[in-house]
């Protein structure tokens, strides 16, 4: 970025100009430009992290050229990339390391993930550890992020739903392990022997699809069981599943609560 060009005149300051010309062009960019560019990039980053619900905190990349002279003769290029990134998706933090082998020949470019390692915290979500090993086995990085997103979405929805019911029916609803657990207990204050437990698991299937799985557990005093001629208690779990299919999660759960707490009609 030389400012002045001299041709014929001898000038005592000439020696210092090459120094100035060769200095890092970025230093000539004013602080203001740098700041505004950084601002733009940061807003783009904020947008992406909001869009994907995934917050990447650090990323590094190393490239190794594996092209042999033989390959160069055939105009084949082979490169091994090592990527390392870490971040979080809501309460779950992850650290992912993977390798991509890129082979470029005259016709096409093939990119294959050759190794994938995923570390996730918290490990409390047992449903996730199985899914993580499957993703690693298949080296399916995108499936990992996609399923992680949907899993967290369902977890948040479950937490919100449990919290909602706890607030609406504080006496009847019990969250023994907190709103983040998979259990919600319903107990009638007038009939303390009866208890219903809703078990809400979030599972990731073979394909990486995230599905909620709800079950009903009943706790009923022996006496009541004996009086139950129609076997309502026995069929309760099945009926609950049907109810779920028809009414959806929230309405099905609410109707159960109301059933047990007839006096606490809101």
């Amino acid at each position: 970025m030389c400012i002045i060009s001299f041709s014929t005149y001898d000038n005592p300051l000439r020696k210092s100009f090459p120094e100035i010309c060769q200095s890092d062009p970025k230093e000539w960019k004013s602080s203001k430009d740098l700041r505004s560019n950084l601002g733009h990039l940061e807003s783009e980053l904020l947008f992406l992290s909001t869009l994907t619900d995934i917050n990447i905190i650090s990323y590094s990349k190393k490239t190794k050229n594996l092209t042999s002279t033989e390959m160069t003769e055939k105009s084949i290029k082979k490169v091994l990339q090592r990527h390392k990134l870490s971040g979080n998706c809501h309460m779950i933090t992850f650290q992912v390391e993977f390798q991509i082998l890129e082979v470029q020949n005259q016709e096409n470019l093939s990119s294959v993930i050759t190794d994938l390692n995923i570390i996730m915290e918290p490990t409390a979500y047992s449903e996730l550890s199985e899914f993580v090993s499957r993703a690693e086995e298949r080296r399916d990085l995108f499936m990992f992020f996609r399923s992680l997103h949907f899993f967290v979405e369902w977890c948040e929805y479950r937490k919100r739903t449990f919290k909602h019911f706890k607030e609406k029916y504080p006496e009847a609803v019990h969250l023994l392990e907190g709103a983040s657990s998979s259990y919600m207990g319903i107990q009638s204050t007038s009939q303390p022997g009866f208890e219903l437990v809703i078990v809400w698991r979030i599972q990731v299937d073979e394909e990486g699809k995230v599905l909620p799985k709800l079950d009903l557990l009943t706790k009923v005093p022996q006496q009541a069981l004996e009086l139950d001629k129609k076997g309502v208690i026995e069929t309760a779990p099945l009926s609950f599943r049907t109810l779920l299919g028809v009414l959806g999660i929230e309405v099905a759960v609410e109707s159960l609560i109301r059933l047990l707490c007839i006096e606490e009609n809101h």
Partner: protein, 293 residues
């Protein structure tokens, strides 16, 4: 100067210095009064003066700038340089992280209108095509243009969640595109790598969710051909929802054929298509086999 001093010390040619100066004065007066020479020489001199003046101005400006820089890099502007360096480092970091978002499968860039989202597809570690959706941030949110293939139900997905939950819309589209890319990859691999097993052409639709082909478990061998029909009713899956394998031979099938047929059906329903044929190539058809990914 020396001349003057010597003169005063020696006390002799004071007049010598003065005389010298007088002579110089006379000469300059003469030069001033005499014509300056030919007009050509005059114009040459004039242009030289202009050039020298220009040079002087440029030098002055450069010196000023250089001087300002030197001033700036003095005292606390070490801090300014450091903060500039820190800003630069931060900028590089942010740029790197923006690049890293490609690996989540979903990335994008802000545009003047809104945002251009890029969806990357892959199947089991093989990076495949990427697609983009250019969104205009308006009320209502609008898709300006996109590279999503026409047989992907984009309008349907958009109708469900584009206006209410952009994130859900994009992830749903991601699911569809990745599933399509995965199905296509499997079908392509079957056609290219295992053509020897196929008794006829692989029939497939654009969405790659309906495949039909006739095959033999042994390439060109004595085995009787089976006809397989794979249907992927759910567009977000890469394994078929319905598989039917029928026996194509003319003789009545023996029990062993029936066993094979059932086992093939099971394999095709639970493993990726090209992996099933890779197993056939290894001479493995049994139900209990676990295929390595």
């Amino acid at each position: 100067m020396d001349l003057a001093n010597t003169s005063s010390q020696e006390g002799e040619p004071k007049g010598g210095v003065l005389a010298h100066l007088e002579r110089l004065e006379a000469r300059s007066r003469k030069k001033f009064e005499e014509p300056q020479g030919t007009p050509a020489a005059e114009s040459a001199l004039r242009s030289k003066i202009l050039q020298l003046r220009r040079l002087r101005d440029q030098l002055r400006a450069a010196v000023e700038r250089h001087g300002a820089r030197v001033e700036a890099s003095a005292e606390p502007d070490q801090a300014l340089q450091d903060s500039e360096q820190a800003l630069e480092r931060k900028r590089e970091d942010v740029k790197a992280i923006l690049q890293a978002y490609r690996f989540t499968g979903l990335s994008g860039k802000l545009t003047s209108r809104g945002v251009c989202v890029c969806i990357q597809t892959a199947f089991q570690g093989n990076l495949l095509d990427s697609y983009f959706v250019d969104l205009v941030i308006q009320k209502p949110l609008r898709i300006h243009h996109h590279s999503v293939p026409v047989f992907i139900p984009l309008e349907e997905i958009a109708a469900k969640s584009l206006q209410t939950d952009l994130r859900h819309f994009l992830f749903s589209l991601c699911e569809h595109l990745n599933a399509y890319a995965g199905r296509k990859y499997q079908a392509d691999r079957l056609q290219s790598d295992f053509a020897a097993f196929l008794a006829g052409p692989l029939q497939r639709n654009a969405l790659c969710n309906l495949l039909s082909f006739t095959y033999k478990a042994e390439p060109g061998g004595q085995a009787f051909p089976f006809c397989a029909r794979l249907l992927y009713k759910d567009l977000t899956v890469t394994l078929p929802t319905d598989v039917s394998v029928t026996y194509e031979g003319t003789d009545t099938p023996s029990p062993s054929w029936e066993e094979q047929r059932a086992s093939h059906e099971h394999l095709l329903r639970t493993k990726p298509l090209h992996h099933v044929f890779a197993a056939f190539a290894r001479g493995e058809e049994r139900l209990e086999l676990r295929l390595a990914y």
